[in-house]
Amino acid sequence: MEGGNQVQLKDIARILEAEVLTCEDKLNCTVEAACGCDLISDMLAFTKEKMIVLTGLVSPQIIRAAEMVDLSGVVFVRGKRPTPDIIELSEELGIPIMCTHYPLYESAGLLFAAGLPGWRHWPRAVGGSEDAP
């Protein structure tokens, strides 16, 4: 992390001007990396704990997949709003979700500039850069 700063979920919410919809008690959790994806299998292949996902895919399966990989949170981009069943599932499984008006590309750029790496630059990624999407 740039300058040794630790990024927390609340920093991500602030940087992306995002509205936190669930699990506000986890806003102090540390996040080490991020991934932008709209495909469930990409998410399963290239994310793990201490990561968040930025996505434009509004589906309960995003939350189910997030639980499989122990994700730290999900950010819905470009103003997309999760449906009540997604919010309910997120609360049940304890996966924080937030919404930002920024599109995917700009959301990713803002977080990268703030020092949050992607899979390729994250030392704990499985397989490292050789394995990156």
Partner: protein, 142 residues
């Protein structure tokens, strides 16, 4: 110890529920987080393959002292060319499924990626069965 759950084709509301129960049970009985994550991913992909492609099936795990075996079998169309299905990006999922974020052609490759051994058997017009082995970490290595 065996866990086994029925999976219904095209039921996207319940989809992922079996893998979730499997992963949660593994954590509750003290399986380490990384192994539970790998089993969860393999079971989830297997479950989603049944939901997307088959009429019905089952997914489950056998929990053994040194490893966890994930199994899935279905009644469905089967896979005509397993080598082709294993290729990243190859998918026969219909467009409406792709709009839901599936059908990227990564399901079987993901199962291979997160398991120590993967065996797929299929008969066109009958169904498909999958067995994946995930070894538990050795005491020295964990």
């Amino acid at each position: 110890m065996r866990l086994e759950f029925p999976v219904a084709g095209r039921d996207f509301q319940a989809a992922g529920g079996a893998a979730q129960k499997i992963k949660r049970t593994l954590r509750q009985i003290g399986i380490d987080a990384e192994t539970a994550r790998r089993v969860g991913i393999v079971a989830y992909e297997a479950e989603m393959n049944i939901v997307i492609h088959a009429f019905s099936g089952k997914v489950g795990v056998d929990i053994l002292p040194e490893r966890i075996n994930v199994f899935a079998y279905d009644q469905g169309p089967g896979i005509a060319d397993i080598d082709l299905a294993m290729q990243v990006g190859y998918s026969t999922a219909p467009e409406d499924i792709k709009e839901m974020g599936f059908g990227a052609g990564l399901g079987l490759p993901n199962m291979k990626r997160y398991s120590d051994n993967l065996v797929i058997e299929s008969e066109v017009g009958c169904g498909t069965s999958i067995r994946a082995v995930i070894n538990l970490p050795t005491k020295e290595g964990s």
